[in-house]
Amino acid sequence: MSSLLSFATAFALGCYAVASVLVLVRMIRGPRAQDRVLALDLLYLHGMLFMIVLGIRHASDVYFEGALLIALFGFVSSSAMAKFLLRGEVIE
C-alpha cells in the first residue's frame, strides 16, 4: 500500500463518516417519516461505499460481497418502508 493510496482511502472514509453524521442529523430531525426513510437509504449507500473503499485499502476481495449484500438489503428495506407508508401494510 503506497502512501498516496493510503491517503486517498483515508480521505474518502473520512468524507463518508462526516456525510453519515450529516445524514444522521437529518434522520433525527426529519419532520416527516419519508425524510427518515430517505436518510436510512442514504446511510445504507454510505455503508456500501465504506465497504468498497475498505476493500481497496486492505487489497482484499471479500469486502465486495458485503457491499453487494448491503446494497440489496438497503433496496429491500427502503422499498418495504415506502410501501408501508403508502398503503399501511407491506404485503397485501
Partner: protein, 117 residues
C-alpha cells in the same frame, strides 16, 4: 496475485476516491440543508450516481491492475444500484405526495384521475 500497481493507476484510483468522497459529502450537506422534502430528494442522486460510480470504477481499476487481468465484478454494484435506486426514489416521491394530500396541504396537485379532462 500480488502484482505491483503502476503509479498512474494509483493516481487515478486516488483521484476517483477523493472525487467520490467530495460528491458524497456535498450530497449529504444538501440533504441536510434544503428546506422541503421534494427539494431534498435531489442531492442524494449525486451520491447514488457520481459517488458510487467513481468508487466502483476505482475498485475495478485497482483490482485489475493488481491481479493482472480484467476484474469486472464490482460492476454488479452499479447495475444493482441503477435498477433499485429509481424504484425507491419514485416510491418515496409517491409517499410524500400521498401523505401531503392526506394531510390536506392547500396547494397540493389533485390525483390525475380526479382532474377534469
Amino acid at each position: 496475485m500480488n502484482g505491483n500497481v503502476p503509479f498512474w493507476a494509483e493516481l487515478m484510483v486516488a483521484l476517483l476516491l477523493v472525487l467520490s468522497g467530495l460528491f458524497v459529502i456535498i450530497s449529504a450537506f444538501g440533504f441536510l440543508r434544503l428546506p422541503d422534502f421534494f427539494l431534498r430528494m435531489h442531492p442524494p442522486a449525486l451520491a447514488y450516481t457520481f459517488g458510487s460510480w467513481s468508487v466502483t470504477v476505482a475498485s475495478i481499476l485497482y483490482f485489475s491492475m493488481r491481479q493482472g487481468r480484467l476484474v469486472l465484478h464490482p460492476w454488479l454494484i452499479i447495475i444493482l444500484l441503477s435498477i433499485s435506486v429509481p424504484v425507491t426514489t419514485l416510491l418515496l416521491a409517491r409517499v410524500a405526495l400521498f401523505r401531503r394530500r392526506t394531510a390536506g396541504v392547500a396547494d397540493t396537485p389533485a390525483p390525475l384521475s380526479q382532474r377534469g379532462n
